[in-house]
Symmetry: C2
């Protein structure tokens, strides 16, 4: 069967396409009677509106984009869950784009958004965030854009984050309190704001306890961290580490195995992670649990708010949702 169009409905009912369109969209300038006639026929013929015709005409697509570095990471997966929940409720469609930490890919993706393909964008930037600053600033002028987690400070728009500095401060303090004196912060990028925040919190705790920065330091890992991490742990003589990404946390377990370090005896670990298996690891992992679902939900909610009412100034709508420290055996005092 041919695809049913608004024109076919119009012919069958001896009405104009304009009337059909209005009737289908529940316009109040249509009589109740014809409205019903139209909608009944539409249902009968299984009419499905062509979204592209509508998008072309209305210049809005009921579609948003989610741009993230990686999807096989429980933080991002949960965040998408939050985003999707809101989108589904609002009848929006969700396009997913993965950057795999490549700012080049990120740029290409952002460029495409100038086409009007999406009505709004939710993004958690690449580690090489600095490269995308300009594109993002530009884009945020054309479309509602909301950052979540990995933000770009310089871009004037809403940012949904967690209390990274405070969370790192609390994590560091916890390590100190269970006896660590040589703590390493395993970080992922010097450029990411959230990393800088965590580092701030880390140093604040060190300062507060008057621990020397010579023994307590930040190490950066980009892609394949395994070898480097083993080296760091071997040479670094750390008695405690904070892994600021989920991947790094498991890398620590791997490295510990390789180096035959006993956790938590030889080395205590805290991971920034939403791993559902954290409590079943050996040893169970003390985590900074980030409210991923809520962050996704908040970001999406805010985006839709801006989409609905263009007078919402996203710049003033940033929001911080606190993380929570779950203390487990990987930081058990010996």
């Amino acid at each position: 069967m041919e695809n049913v169009t608004i024109r076919m409905l119009a012919e069958k009912l001896q009405l104009s396409t304009a009337t059909i369109s209005k009737a289908l969209n529940n316009s109040h300038e249509i009589s109740e009677e014809t409205r019903k006639r139209v909608q009944d026929l539409a249902k009968e013929l299984n009419y499905v509106p062509n979204p592209y015709a509508s998008s072309l005409r209305k210049k809005s697509s009921k579609t948003i984009a989610v741009v993230i570095p990686e999807i096989a990471d429980s933080f991002f997966a949960e965040a998408i869950n939050g985003i999707e929940a809101v989108a589904q409720e609002k009848g929006y469609h969700v396009l997913i784009y993965l950057t795999h930490e490549s700012s080049e890919k990120e740029q290409a993706i952002l460029k495409d958004f100038q086409s009007g393909r999406v009505d709004g964008v939710l993004i958690s930037v690449t580690m090489e965030t600095a490269n995308s600053e300009h594109s993002l600033s530009q884009l945020s002028k054309e479309l509602p854009l909301v950052f979540f987690d990995r933000v770009c400070e310089e871009v004037a728009t809403a940012k949904i984050t967690t209390n990274d500095s405070e969370a790192a401060y609390i994590a560091t303090k916890h390590l100190i309190e269970v006896g660590c004196r040589n703590i390493g912060l395993l970080a992922a990028s010097e450029q990411l704001t959230i990393m800088r925040e965590r580092i701030k919190g880390f140093y604040r705790a060190l300062t507060e306890y008057q621990l020397p920065v010579t023994n307590n330091s930040v190490t950066y890992f980009t892609r394949e961290a395994n070898q480097l991490l083993s080296d760091t742990l071997r040479l670094g003589k750390f008695d405690g580490v904070i892994a600021t990404t989920e991947k790094l946390a498991t890398n620590v377990y791997e490295a510990a195995e390789t180096l035959k370090l006993q956790l938590p005896k030889d080395l205590k670990v805290i991971g920034f992670s939403n791993l559902s298996t954290a409590r079943f690891l050996y040893p169970s992992l003390t985590t900074v649990y980030q409210p991923a679902f809520e962050m996704g939900k908040a970001a999406a909610t805010l985006l839709f708010k801006a989409l609905k009412n263009s007078h919402v100034t996203l710049t003033q709508q940033s929001m911080e949702i606190p993380s929570q420290l779950f203390i487990r055996n990987s930081t058990l005092q010996q």
Copy 2:
């Protein structure tokens, strides 16, 4: 600045929009010279084609849909990685839809695809798969459709699966060989083909070892499995279980904790799971590792093949990619 259109380019260059269009699409019926002139100006003015105008006209959107039950599950997350890798390479966009195991939501999503919003669909169905059979059969006649993992047998199209029956057979055999005599298969739905396959393999192993079906049985869990699972493990007197979903695997660890069962001494566990943390669990988890990334990639590759050449009959393109048993301590012989 106004959005740059093909018409603006045409005016600036004193050419027709048709010529511009052809030049931008590298048509061979355009002289090298004008092609360059057009493309140069396009770049200069930062022209970005309107995808919706093009989609409306061409009746193709360079967009595919991925429909899955859940995203916070390492199998599906990895599968998406595979899909996205292929899609990005081919210049396609990926719409994500989550059903959260609701066949009602699934139906609504599938219905929308009749609009021509997407050129093709990759799907892993809900546990209540039976409900969607009809819609899927219908849809597969209008669009290229490829199942991955959770298939609908009755629908005549390509299916990318793993060797579920064989994998379950091997897993069961392994449990028997390490001494289990009362094995429980923890299943998720009676309707899912992959579950039925796994059950087949399970029974095959039991038969081969002449173990009575009275002691070795299949239990179904739908949503919130925790309480039910605790009951099952307490009453079932199992000495070994196979958790056929990732969630169920962690549920077993939870229940074991609650019931103070020691793994693997009191109960041995195998999980169908792609958890990257499997080796670091306590005890490390013996897993049936499913080739999620490859399955996603294969499904997407096949879909694009069908999209490119409409004579590819998907029905004959099904594919099975083997899983692998990783033996770890959760099935250690005592």
